[in-house]
């Protein structure tokens, strides 16, 4: 069994297998992420807001941008990512910016939803293909990082937990055969 399968199994049990997360990350972690200089510019953070909104858009609940997802990603990448992971993330972000402008002759931020979604779907397909081919030791694709951070930041935010999901701080009891109707919201689990 390869390391990837193991991580998948552990993530099923613990619900945690994020880039920068704890599982098997003890080797190769550099600790010079404590720079006083901001890692990302305001423009880059604004671009991340749009990328996050495209990954988790507004539906009957607000989208990721409403939770300042760009600032959340900036914080995690700065504090929790290794130097190598930071580099991959930032280069990936620049790649999205440049490639999009080359293709659509407009900036990602000012493009329409269909263009953004179509473009990031291509990036996502590329990320999935990369992931299938990569060895365990190879770094994660930058777009997987962005997806994970968007989901983590959104669902652990107040809006995500209480508007998109159903949050009960103190359940007070346990029901192991609680009736469920298709479409009912999932719990924000903690």
């Amino acid at each position: 069994m390869d390391r990837r399968t193991i991580i998948k199994q552990i993530s099923i049990l613990t619900g945690a297998a994020f880039v920068g997360g704890q599982i098997f990350m003890q080797s190769g972690c550099k600790t010079d992420g404590q720079t006083t200089k901001a890692l990302l510019t305001n423009d880059q953070i604004a671009l991340l807001d749009e990328i996050g909104e495209t990954i988790l858009p507004q539906t009957d609940s607000p989208g990721a941008k409403s939770t300042n997802i760009g600032a959340f990603m900036h914080k995690i990448v700065t504090d929790c990512y290794s130097t190598e992971e930071q580099k991959i993330f930032i280069e990936g972000l620049e790649n999205i910016k440049q490639s999009f402008e080359t293709k659509y002759s407009t900036s990602f931020i000012s493009a329409n939803e269909d263009q953004k979604t179509a473009f990031l779907n291509e990036v996502n397909t590329e990320a999935i293909a990369y992931r299938k081919a990569k060895k365990y030791e190879d770094p994660e694709h930058y777009f997987v990082m962005m997806k994970q951070l968007t989901i983590l930041g959104y669902f652990s935010s107040e809006i995500g937990a209480t508007k998109a999901l159903n949050y009960i701080a103190v359940p007070g009891k346990y029901d192991g055969s609680y009736p469920y109707k298709k479409g009912d919201k999932a719990w924000a689990s903690s």
Binding site: K8, L13, Q22, C80, S156
Partner: protein, 587 residues
């Protein structure tokens, strides 16, 4: 509690007690409670800082969005806590619980994962709470199989103390009538969920009731106890429970000890050595090091309970009475520091369960199912000795599922905001045999300035902790019996799941460093003979009868059940004995 409960170590005039308890965790809290309730004046020594019930549970009532990093740890924490980052314990909410590994290093001759919490309550605040009795299957195994030494006690010696402990701490569970996993004094058990019930039924049918899956026996309340509310199903026990819903020193034994008025506490104080009078062959007290300024102080007592957690209790003995025994107090048998055990895990199986889409769960149950040992039992015979149990749970996929290979946009959001497929996972916990060559010792090797080992006494010096104290070196590993058992643990779980209708069953084995089970034990074992054991049947050090070691260090074999309940029962039993011996003036 009075203002004088917490002593100022620098200015206190009180230096003589009936008893000193070293360590405030699961065992030390019980020693403090039992000894104070029986009228002794007790000094409790804790090397970490004060951590008050409710008041100091800083994150326990925060909402998820009040955490800065969505639960993740930072690069700075990874640097300060590298060992904790080997496993799942590195979580944003509980990083304060763990010891700073730079201040408190240890050496790994072989890989050893040591999870330490140095603050009031120790690991009682962050323990897993699973509570199972040992049985005579466990107590008799060494003697029957010629492994290690025989336990000096049997189940009947400990059973009444399990009763005492379970009633007081509150263990919820359901009686099963299994001889090898004795029933206890349970509060009502929690519920299995609908998928777990289905799998329990199918396993029972398939294996003709020779295998059992039932709700875990857990030290979370399902009925209120005095001063404590029942579990609120928040599943945030690790952060400290504002309701006192689970057993910890703070929620349970400490308030009882304080209520007697007989307890004094010093925090930020490392027990440096047990003071020993070689003429009377008794300990006279404990030398304490103040972690603030490195000054040392002597406290005297008639008896000493060593409950510093298994390996640190042995470290303390290794540093004591070295003028009489170079290897330390309790080393005359040659067994002090030997026979390190743990439970090997980090392996299991998981899969998917079709159907049950009209059901979900309400509440976050801080507990799962348990499958007790079924191998080498009732006629079953394997190629290895002893056995294992499993713990696990079933749940529907939530937003934390693996998203790397999913799409983006509205479909992704709709998928993550509704519960997904039911899945089930289970982890094995296996017994580790006591092996003389699995050992810990004080690290007396010399290191040069780059940290390389050298024999040059001019270039090298010994490693110490922040306070200049010697550190432990760990030299222990899984051996043939455990490695053979591991193959069976994953294979049996896979078969059971498949026989119960679970689909796409995957097995996993991520390997196991000693210590990773957080059930490190042994190194000062109980026995019948002072030539081959460190402690007698009452947890007394053979070489100093007024010193009792009642934490995991005392274990003669590991069994495969979670051990904390047994440490509590052994501590309560030893405390009762110590007080009766004191009254008879035998100590």
């Amino acid at each position: 509690m009075t203002d004088t409960t917490y002593l100022n170590i620098k200015s206190t005039k009180l230096h003589t007690y009936d008893a000193i308890v070293v360590g405030s965790g699961i065992s030390g809290g019980w020693a403090a409670k039992e000894l104070t309730e029986k009228g002794l004046k007790v000094l409790l020594i804790e090397r970490g800082q004060r951590h008050d019930h409710v008041k100091d549970y800083k994150t326990a009532s925060q909402d998820p969005w009040e955490f800065g990093h969505g639960g993740m740890t930072t690069q700075a924490q990874k640097s300060d806590y590298p060992v904790i980052h080997r496993g799942w314990a590195a979580q944003e909410a509980v990083m304060d619980a763990w010891v700073n590994e730079k201040d408190c290093p240890y050496s790994e001759i072989k890989p050893f994962t040591w999870w330490r919490s140095y603050r009031m309550g120790g690991r009682s605040v962050i323990w897993g709470r699973q509570s199972y009795r040992l049985s005579d299957l466990d107590f008799e195994a060494n003697a029957k199989e010629g492994i290690g030494v025989d336990w000096p006690i049997r189940y009947k010696d400990l059973a009444p103390w399990y009763d005492v402990v379970e009633k007081f701490i509150g263990v919820s569970g359901i009686k099963q009538g299994l001889a090898h996993l004795p029933d206890g004094q349970f509060q009502p058990g929690m519920d299995l969920n609908i998928v777990e019930k289905e799998i329990a039924k199918k396993i029972g049918t398939h294996y003709k009731n020779s295998r059992h899956l039932f709700i875990g026996r857990v030290a979370n309340l399902t009925s209120d106890l005095p001063g404590r509310s029942k579990c609120q199903y928040r599943n945030r026990c690790w952060e400290g429970c504002p309701y006192g819903g689970y057993f910890s020193t703070q929620s349970s034994t400490l308030p009882a000890a304080l209520a007697t008025g007989n307890l004094h506490i010093v925090t930020g104080a490392i027990a440096k050595q047990i003071l020993y009078d070689k003429d009377n062959k008794k300990a006279t007290g404990v030398e304490i090091l103040d972690t603030e300024d490195n000054k040392t102080y002597e406290f005297k007592s008639k008896i000493i309970f060593v409950c510093a957690s298994a390996l640190n209790s042995t470290w303390l003995m290794m540093n004591s009475a070295t003028d009489v025994w170079p290897e330390g107090l309790g080393s005359s048998s040659g067994e002090l520091g030997h026979n390190v055990m743990d439970h090997h895990y980090n392996l299991g199986a998981s899969g998917k369960m079709d159907g049950f889409e009209e059901f979900y769960t309400y509440g976050r149950r801080p507990n799962g199912f348990y499958i007790p040992r079924f191998v080498n039992l009732n006629g079953d015979k394997r190629s290895y000795l002893r056995g294992f149990g499993y713990q696990g749970s079933a749940s529907r996929e939530e937003w934390q599922r693996d998203v790397a290979e999913l799409g983006i946009g509205v479909d992704l959001k709709n998928m993550l905001t509704t519960p997904g497929q039911w899945q089930i996972g289970s982890t094995g916990f296996g017994e580790i045999l006591p092996h003389h060559d699995n050992k810990i010792m004080l690290d007396q090797r010399l290191y040069d300035k780059d940290g390389n080992i050298t024999t040059d006494t001019n270039l090298g010096k010994q490693k110490t902790d922040k306070w200049g104290l010697p550190i432990l070196a760990m030299d222990a590993e899984l051996r043939e019996n455990e490695l053979n058992m591991r193959k069976d643990i994953v294979e049996e779980m896979k078969q059971m799941f498949e026989n119960a209708g679970v689909k796409d069953v995957n097995i996993w084995d991520a390997g196991h460093n000693m210590g990773h089970g957080i059930h490190e034990m042994g190194t000062a074992r109980m026995g019948l003979d002072p030539k081959t054991s460190v402690l007698n049947g009452w947890n007394q050090v053979w070489d100093a009868s007024n010193v009792f070691v009642t934490d995991g260090a005392c274990m003669t074999s590991s069994a495969c059940q979670n051990p904390s309940l047994t440490y509590m029962a052994l501590t309560a039993r030893a405390a009762d004995y110590a007080v009766s011996e004191l009254k008879k003036q035998n100590l």
